[in-house]
Each structure stands twice: as structure tokens, then as C-alpha cells.
């Protein structure tokens, strides 16, 4: 379930209605930031949006940590694979 995508806050709109404009590769939409009222986002912040609501802020640090963990995976195995290369086999 739940198609939710990262978007960047470009403008905060309305204090009472708690709306903001987000940008995804130049596409803009108004979303509600009511769910983030405990730690309201600011322009430039990245949030996860779903059905017109910002669900969560995206942490750049956690993302970077994760990517670093991924980079450290399979060191031995990966070297072997990369030397070999991949090829999609013929379809029957």
C-alpha cells in the first residue's frame, strides 16, 4: 500500500490551514503539513508525501548512513561479480 514520494518544501502557505507547496522535479502541489506540527518543516526541507499530506520529514543524515552501510556490503562477493559482468540471457 501507500505510494509516498519524496518532495521538497518550497513555500509555506497558510498558518491556520497548515498548507505548504512542495516540488518534485518542477512539479508543484499544495500539501497539508498538519501531521508534522510537532516539528514543522521549513522551505528546503524534504518530506514524504502521500494523498496530499506530508507524512514525515526525510532525514538526510539517516539516508547517508544507510547508503554508507550499503556501500560496505558484499565487499568480497561484489568484486567477483563486477569483474564478471552481467548479461541478460536470450528469452527462450
Amino acid at each position: 500500500m501507500c505510494l509516498a514520494i519524496p518532495a521538497q518544501i518550497c513555500e509555506l502557505l497558510d498558518d491556520h490551514l497548515q498548507l505548504a507547496v512542495v516540488d518534485i522535479l518542477g512539479v508543484r502541489r499544495k500539501v497539508s503539513v498538519q501531521l508534522l506540527q510537532a516539528d514543522p518543516p521549513r522551505p528546503g526541507d524534504w518530506v514524504l508525501i502521500h494523498v496530499g499530506f506530508a507524512m514525515s520529514k526525510i532525514s538526510g543524515e539517516r539516508a547517508a548512513e544507510q547508503l554508507e552501510l550499503l556501500r560496505q556490503l558484499g565487499e568480497a562477493g561484489a568484486a567477483q561479480e563486477e569483474a564478471g559482468g552481467y548479461q541478460v540471457a536470450a528469452d527462450e
Binding site: 502541489r29 494523498v51 528469452d91
Partner: protein, 353 residues
């Protein structure tokens, strides 16, 4: 046109059309119909074949093979970022001829008008048709108008027939496609469908996405000039997107088509809108892109030809054709992942799950 009013000066010069909107009378075949054709339509489309307003246009004899295509244009809204129904009607018909290897030589237009349609809108669309056709030196040689009751026809439907002269070196047939042939795409996909979706739906999304409606004739002709029979098959990607066209190729050629996921050209805003709505850009409609299948040996030359033709700067090598009994389209990613690219079922619908 139904009327044959040979005593009128060809090309019009009669008084301008003053009716503010279209009514049933304009389709009844009498005086109002005559005024609509002579005072509004003919002056905007004027050419030697249309002007006599005979029951048929008489064209000079053609040598060589002829291509004929017919098409209908039904779009809401009538005007959208990047174009309008009139432009679509001309370009869409031209493109069907172009991918058949034909240079367009004549086009007809049949208009179904909704009673109540403001004249200004009709005038704008005929003007758009005239501009799109005039750009190519293409005459609208015959036409028809009908009016239906208010509530039908969404304002305006346009039906066309296009006639083209097939390039002497064109041999375009699915049965010529063989394993190893390369698949080319003329440029970025998804622009038209997303422009329409955003202009129409209550999705409340703002994006600078414009329809890619344009004639493809220059590119297809350039391809045939340089590669001749090395071009095996072409088709323009319209409703259903590139995915539908690639699946038609796979099915008609009885081969498997493999494309590179990362090779698909996509404007940022189209990608953003598709990600937001959960759509696959390969399934979103286009009005100015085509797929060509060429022999492996001429692929590099074909690509260069397209890139050197105005409008073809973002043409790309999409993938290749392989032997395969399942006649389907596969997309491979550089990490090795492979997925099936399916044909569209109905219109693309936004999803939240």
C-alpha cells in the same frame, strides 16, 4: 462539401461570419450551412482544391505508391498547454502517414460540432489546423460539417483522412523485422498525456508540461533518405504510450523487444508528475514521438540522422529485437533487473497504493 456553389468566387471574399455560436441550422445543409463554410471555414483553409467547394476534390495524378489513413480527434479540454484539437488533428494524421513512409500530400477534415459551440472557439481551431497544415505546405482539400445537439460531441470532434506519397525506398513491414534489429525512439515521452491529465483532472497539480504535438514527417523522411530499406518498421506512439507501440511491434513481428530502462528519455517534470501519480511514463500518451526499427548495421547512422534533424535532438537507441516466442516487451535495468512492459488497459489512472 455538400454544396456546389460554383458561382462563388473561389477563395471566398464574402462577408465575415457573424453568428456568435453554432446552432443546429448550421448543420442542416441550407443557408446557415453555406455561410458557415463560405464565410468562416473556407477563407481560413483556402487552397485551389478546396475553394471550388465541389463534392470531391480533384487531385493531379500521382505516380508511386499511395498511403491513406483516417483518424478521429476527441480531446478534452479542446485547448491545453502546448496545443489544441485542431493542431492534433493535422499533426496526428500527418504522423500516421509519416511512419508509413509517406510524405503527406492532402488531408480532409470532417467536423462534428456541438450546438452551442462558441464561434470563436471554432475559428481558433480552424486557424490552428490551417497553421499546422500550412507549416507543411499541406492543403485541406475537402471537408464536411455536421452539428449535433447540445450535450454531445464535447464541443468539437474532428475526423480526418490523410493521403501521402510513399517514399520509393520505404519497405516498412513487421515481417521484415528480425533478431538483432535495433529500436530507436525519437525523443522524450509522456508529455502529451500528462499535459492533458493535468489540464483536465481535479488533481490540483502545477507543472510546466506541454503537449509534444508536432509533425514527424521531416524526421521519418530523413531516416528513409539515409537508411532506405534499412528501416524495417515505424510507428508513432500515441494513446497507450510507447509501451503500446513496443508491444504492437513484438506482437506483429512475433519477437521479443528488449529495451534499456535507463535509455528512455524523460523530461524532469514528466517524471515528477508520473512518480507523484504512480504512473509508468511508458504508458502515457504522446503526440510527437515515434519508434523506428532499423537494421543493426545502420543503427548508428539512423540515430545520427535523427539527432541532426530539427526536433530529433533527443532521439535515442532504446533497445533491440530478439528471438522470443512470447512476443513481449522487456525492460532491463543496469543492475540486472528485468521487468515486463505491459500494454495499457484503459486510460492510465493515478494511484495512491
Amino acid at each position: 462539401m455538400a454544396q456546389s456553389l460554383m458561382n462563388k468566387t473561389p477563395g471566398g471574399g464574402s462577408t465575415a461570419f457573424h453568428d456568435k455560436q453554432i446552432s443546429m441550422a448550421h448543420g442542416a445543409g441550407g443557408e446557415a450551412s453555406r455561410r458557415l463554410v463560405e464565410e468562416l471555414i473556407r477563407p481560413l483553409l483556402a487552397n485551389d482544391w478546396l475553394n471550388p467547394l465541389g463534392d470531391a476534390a480533384v487531385l493531379p495524378a500521382q505516380s508511386g505508391r499511395l498511403a491513406v489513413t483516417t483518424d478521429s480527434f476527441v480531446v478534452q479540454p479542446l485547448r491545453f498547454p502546448g496545443g489544441s484539437i485542431g493542431e492534433l488533428a493535422i499533426n496526428g494524421t500527418v504522423n500516421d502517414l509519416a511512419v508509413s513512409g509517406a510524405k503527406p500530400i492532402a488531408i480532409t477534415a470532417s467536423l462534428i460540432l456541438e450546438a452551442g459551440l462558441p464561434t470563436e472557439i471554432l475559428r481558433q481551431e480552424i486557424t490552428a489546423m490551417a497553421a499546422a497544415a500550412g507549416h507543411l505546405g499541406l492543403p485541406v482539400v475537402a471537408g464536411d460539417t455536421k452539428v449535433v445537439e447540445h450535450g454531445k460531441a464535447d464541443g468539437l470532434y474532428i475526423c480526418t483522412t490523410g493521403l501521402g506519397a510513399i517514399h520509393p525506398r520505404a519497405e516498412l513491414r513487421a515481417d521484415r523485422v528480425c533478431p538483432g534489429d535495433r529500436v530507436l525512439l525519437s525523443g522524450p515521452i509522456g508529455n502529451h498525456g500528462m499535459a492533458i491529465m493535468l489540464a483536465r483532472a481535479e488533481l490540483d497539480i502545477e507543472a510546466d508540461i506541454r503537449s509534444d504535438t508536432r509533425p514527424l514527417a521531416a524526421m521519418t523522411e530523413a531516416l528513409l533518405e539515409t537508411c532506405g530499406a534499412g528501416v524495417k518498421w515505424m510507428r508513432d506512439a500515441t494513446r497507450g504510450g510507447a509501451a503500446t507501440v513496443l508491444n504492437e511491434l513484438a506482437r506483429d513481428a512475433r519477437m521479443t523487444v528488449v529495451i534499456d530502462e535507463e535509455a528512455v528519455p524523460l523530461d524532469d517534470a514528466v517524471r515528477g508528475a508520473c512518480e507523484l501519480l504512480g504512473l509508468d511514463p511508458l504508458q502515457v500518451a504522446n503526440e510527437g514521438q515515434f519508434v523506428a526499427v532499423v537494421r543493426e548495421e545502420v543503427a548508428a547512422q539512423a540515430l545520427e540522422t535523427l539527432r541532426n534533424t530539427p526536433g530529433g535532438e533527443r532521439a535515442c537507441l532504446l533497445g533491440e529485437v530478439r528471438k522470443g516466442s512470447l512476443s513481449r516487451v522487456l525492460a532491463r535495468a543496469s543492475y540486472g533487473g528485468v521487468r515486463v512492459v505491459d500494454m495499457l488497459i484503459g486510460d492510465p489512472l493515478p494511484r495512491i497504493c
